[in-house]
């Protein structure tokens, strides 16, 4: 059995409260269900009239059924609290989740970089040919309206005073 870690008081208390809630709710469901089954038995001899006894049994069954439903809802709330506690405090699975996410992201990053490098190698061949074509063409002189001519940006020309 794993060595019991010294939990902070609040966490220890919280887990003990979860245990208590579980025991109480299960006991409530079983007891109320058993009592409903017992009450369903029709007695030959009653202290009050049959009609009164019937009304009393009817009311009791309603209350016990409501108790069973309340206990069921309390169990659902307990499960929800346990899920929350698990997500926040189950360190082994949180660590594993973080590791998996890191691996995923790293793999995606490596794939992007690998494809970019392959693209670079391909394009460098085409760019070489483009450059040869450009430097041996009349467009190199930068005719006005040519898409290859880069107009100096306004205010940044070093020859213009005040830029």
């Amino acid at each position: 059995m794993a060595q019991q870690r010294a939990l902070p008081q609040s966490k220890e208390t919280l887990l003990q409260s979860y245990n208590k809630r579980l025991k109480d709710d299960v006991k409530s469901i079983m007891d109320n269900f058993t009592e409903i089954i017992k009450t369903a038995k029709i007695e030959d001899e009653t202290q009050v009239s049959r009609a009164t006894q019937g009304e009393q049994d009817n009311y009791e069954m309603h209350v016990r059924a409501a108790n069973i439903v309340r206990a069921g809802e309390s169990l659902m709330k307990l499960v929800s609290d346990l899920k929350q506690f698990l997500i926040l405090n189950d360190f082994p699975s949180v660590n594993e989740a973080i590791d998996q996410r890191n691996q995923q992201l790293r793999a995606l990053q490596e794939e992007c970089d690998r494809k970019l490098i392959a693209l670079r190698d391909e394009i460098s061949i085409d760019l070489y040919e483009l450059e040869e074509e450009y430097y041996s063409s009349r467009e190199r002189d930068g005719e006005a309206g040519s898409p290859l001519r880069r107009e100096p940006e306004a205010g940044l020309d070093p020859r213009t005073p005040g830029s």
Partner: protein, 117 residues
């Protein structure tokens, strides 16, 4: 998204328990409904009652096991791990891809204009 198997297993188990709690209430209701009839189907009654009892015991055992596990693994400290750094690196790689796509489209547009001229 890859499966976070360990975390998902326990969470899935808790979801199954939730469904079982619903089944418990349904079984209880069926038993009481059957009892209210003039002619009760005894076999159905026994079956539903047995299912009810088994479900309640199963839910109690499972939840106790989960609480026991949490008592063993919980440290009370907040978890300070994160995947921020790898997320940032991946984001930068995707930005590089976008930038490359932008520049390539510029080159393609320039070449097309040249061909038109």
């Amino acid at each position: 998204m890859a499966t976070y198997s360990l975390a998902n297993e326990r969470l899935r188990a808790l979801e199954d328990i939730e469904r079982e709690i619903g089944a418990i209430l349904q079984n209880a209701g069926t038993v009481i409904l059957e009892l209210s009839k003039e002619k009760t189907n005894e076999r159905l009654l026994d079956r539903q009652a047995a299912a009810f009892t088994a479900s309640v015991q199963h839910v109690e055992a499972e939840l106790s096991a989960q609480i026991r596990y949490l008592t063993q693994v919980a440290t009370g400290q907040p978890h300070e791990g994160s995947s921020y750094s790898s997320r940032k690196d991946c984001q930068m790689a995707l930005k590089r891809v976008d930038y490359t796509r932008l520049k390539l489209s510029d080159v393609a547009r320039t070449c097309e204009q040249m061909l038109e001229n």
